[in-house]
Amino acid sequence: MSELAISVNRLTKVYGDVLAVNRLDLSVPRGSIYGFLGRNGAGKTSTIKMLLGLTRPTSGSAHVLGMDILASRMPILRRTAFVSEKKTLPPSLTPSELVRFSRGFYPTWLDQAVEKYARLLEIPMNQRFERLSNGNQTKVFLLLALAQGAELLILDEPTTALDPVSVDQLLRVLAADAADRGTTVFFSSHQLEEVEQIAEYVGMVEGGRLLMESRLDDVKNDFRVITAAGSNLPRETNSQVLSVEVKDNFYRYVITKDGEGYAGDLAQNGATVTHVAPLSLREIFLELVRKEKLCTSGNAGETPVLSSSSS
């Protein structure tokens, strides 16, 4: 059995003139919670659609639960639950009726999960879907996905239009389900603080390309921002130095690994290191996206993709 719940290899999707996904590689370990991050239009939804067979890749390959997405669509769908970015369901059906409809498709369906999550998420089960609030509509999606008893949960922007209380509720439920049943949770988002709350792994995409994929703890431990004062300090970026900003004699470095070591090197070169601090996921994401934009404006395709700092 493959150790990866999702394995993506140079996956590409082109819609007309638009390159939505560009030679994307992903590795999602089984039983993990994986945050798939990117701005709007970064290629997250297109990737998810390909994984679920809703759209076909232009090139590349992908495996879900060890099965090829093109050859094994039905077995994948049987073992995978999906919460779509479009939170629309047949409007005249009630959540109870949606449960009744969905149950028949999945041999692993968990009736007790329906009761549990309906109560926990306070979903009005007998109200027509179209009359539910946005928050409750999203919760119905989640309820249907969780009750499926799936091995893999794919959620596309699950927290869109939710209030902070509902977001918190939803994240707790996801984390608990992953912990209880060992479900793999793969969720896309551009709400970085939410991802930071529960994700163990993160993958960041921009312009359909992978910027970084790593264990979240490693990202937080490795990335550092260093401010230093001095003259003629290094200005070059490389695999360790993500970006350098210079203003007068003050330098701001974003370092991808061994920040303390780099600060020591700067000090040896005569710099006065004033600050070495970790970055939040949000800051890391912004730095990576900015770097990507700088690179792709003049030399598309030349951007170095940061490899996983560890796995």
């Binding site: 076909r56 039905m74 995978t80 999906f82 369901l89 047949p90």
Partner: protein
Amino acid sequence: MYLWKCWRDTRSFFLVFLIGAAIVMPVAALVCKGTGLVEEFGANAFQSTFGLILVAVALGLAAIGAIHEFGDKTAHFLFTKPRSRAYFVWVSWSVGLGELLAIAAVNFLAGWLTLLRFSKNPLHSPVFGPVTSQQLVEGLIMAIYTYSLAYSLTAILRSGLKGLGAAMGIVFGLPFLAIAVRWRWHINLPIPTSPIGNLSLVASDLTWTFVALLFVFIAQIVIERGEV
């Protein structure tokens, strides 16, 4: 369970159409009471309205049924269920067809019972002669043809309005096109559901039914290959 969902999605429209089909002849007979119109023209009017009502119902049921299942907003929900898209296409089509046939049966029964009150031979007009079973079958096949066409176009275009419009354009425009072609090039185009060339009536009816099924098959192919 999917069968149930299709029924659940369309049942309110079905009931409205069913009631309409059930009362149209009795109401018409009530309005015309004492004029003698029902006795003289009732059978013929019934034969005409039978086909027209069914075509109208077919258009409505097709657009409603298909858009509920294959509309842009909800297709992702359906197509991430572990069943083939062909299954969804044919089951949803079958439910609508069942409803259409039920409405046809009720419409026929209501018409026949109404005319029975005015004549011992309800399907015979003293002015136009008898209403033949072939005329009624033609009306029914026209409804199935229209239903399948509208259903397929709605599913392919993923829009109730566009599907309905395109189907109406074809159903009502084709006779005019056939007339124009005959006038200009002296070629007889087959018009649904009239006899085709030298084929017998039964063979023609079967051919038109086959054409109706072909529309659904084409929709299945397009949906299977389509992206959501």
